[in-house]
Symmetry: C2
DNA sequence: GGGACGCATTGATTTACATCAAACCATCCG
DNA sequence: CGGATGGTTTGATGTAAATCAATGCGTCCC
């Protein structure tokens, strides 16, 4: 995963410009592919092929860019921001199946139609590939295929955890699990440690749709956690975790 | 998926014996690998390598063979029967994350430990590979890797559907979705059409743990569906679907 | 400034499902 | 045979979370 320190490809006319290094900027500013995803599995000599296939797209907050059921023409790699993936029922009920952060791939589906919708939570930058060209790339770069398999496996593990959460955990357990997951995500290599201070990019409504709860229950549960000295709820989207231990106990189901 | 009519490899001493053909028996009786999974992506000349890596194992009903959290040493391909995959909380609550039928791969995880447990629902036959040898196979047979990626993608789609079910559907909608899924699974190429007659191998308890409900709710819901003329509940594990249309309406959420 | 709007919090009430409980009905086996 | 055992069904009651409802509080924009 983090065996590649940074994207080493030098600047190329019109297409590839590499950031100066440093965790926040080490991706190609044209194709926007991060070293941890595509760049790390394709050799420097082949980068022009990659950039031929890729188009950078910037998506404003709230804008959907994959519609559930639409023909699956493209394939995406998230390079900055947070994307919510969801499925909906005809009457409007909505389940967010996951949040995709930088490095994640979207649209892996074998089917000809997208199985889920995708919408930008905050400002999002993605690297967009046509699936046709992606298929060619896969043929030429077996390592890329292995990387995708790894990604899919990880997502599968996350999905199984989420099924346990949705099927068997109480509201308090769900919220505790969510906060701990967010904390762990914010502590990945490349992100500085935050000492329990989280900036959740998503609204209460998104959290509710992710945890299979209502807005009101999420809000009440956070208030209850505050009353128990587990967290501090700041203005806007800030939450500070005061006691990881207490949340751990909750999340594990030892209510 | 079904681009390979049957396993064509001839019998080989001690290791490979091919069934006489026909949908029920066209898998290797020693390594038990079905044509739709491993066999279809490995050439005949290489089959001995495959059989070197594979060991057939027969697992009696109710026996667990993957323990959640245990070191992930092996990799499985189901060749007959039904396997339940599950995750559990310390206090015993259980979520079945899926049922694996013939052709499915288990233990794909990148991690060193299994992320879920597995237990035979009925009598199960699996083809067991050591993960070390599997890694070698992957290096030599890129097509196998693509097949695994396809499998993982399909599982991911199924997992997303299940998240929608667990997070947002009512008990009636869940049971209706489940019955329709089972019906569709029984109509896959290679299985004869059953005219709505299902033989579910799993208990009410398993169904409950899969749908995030209790045994009583599953039972009551089935009784209600019977009272509505949607299904017929036979002795043992038999259920007949009388009205696909009514179940469709229910499953889609137009309660 | 002052609506209007989107998001969040808190309270009162309802309800779908869980829990508790009892009875039923196979199959197994001493 | 008879009584244990494991799964299923059905009924009575309880409860966690949904729903309905009101208020607060930023930010945007005329």
């Amino acid at each position: 995963m983090s065996d590649m320190p940074s994207c080493q490809f030098e600047s190329r006319p019109r297409r590839i410009v590499i950031g100066a290094g440093g965790a926040q900027t080490d991706f190609c500013t044209t194709c926007s592919v991060r070293p941890t995803s595509v760049c790390s599995v394709i050799g420097p000599d082949d980068i022009s092929r990659l950039s031929d296939a890729a188009v950078e797209t910037i998506i404003p907050p709230g804008r959907g860019f994959i519609e559930e059921g639409a023909p699956a023409t493209d394939f995406f790699n998230v390079t900055s921001g947070t994307v919510k993936l969801f499925k909906a029922l005809p009457d409007g009920r909505r389940q967010i199946t996951g949040f995709a952060s930088p490095g994640h791939f979207l649209g892996l589906a074998v089917s000809d139609n997208y199985a889920f919708g995708a919408e930008a939570v905050d400002t999002v930058r993605v690297c967009r590939f046509s699936r046709d060209k992606m298929a060619d790339l896969l043929d030429d770069f077996p390592k890329l295929e292995r990387r995708l398999l790894e990604e899919a496996s990880n997502e599968l593990v996350a999905a199984q955890n989420q099924m346990l959460l949705l099927g068997r955990k109480t509201a308090r357990e769900r919220v505790a699990s969510f906060l701990l997951d967010q904390m762990h995500a914010s502590q990945l290599p490349g992100q500085e440690g935050t000492g329990g201070r989280l900036h959740l990019p998503m609204t209460r409504g998104d959290i509710a749709d992710y945890l299979g709860l209502t807005i009101e229950t999420v809000s009440r549960t956070l208030s209850w956690m505050r009353s128990q000295g587990m967290i501090e709820v700041g203005k806007g989207y800030a939450i500070t975790i005061l006691s990881v231990a207490k949340l751990d106990v909750l999340a594990a189901g030892n209510t």
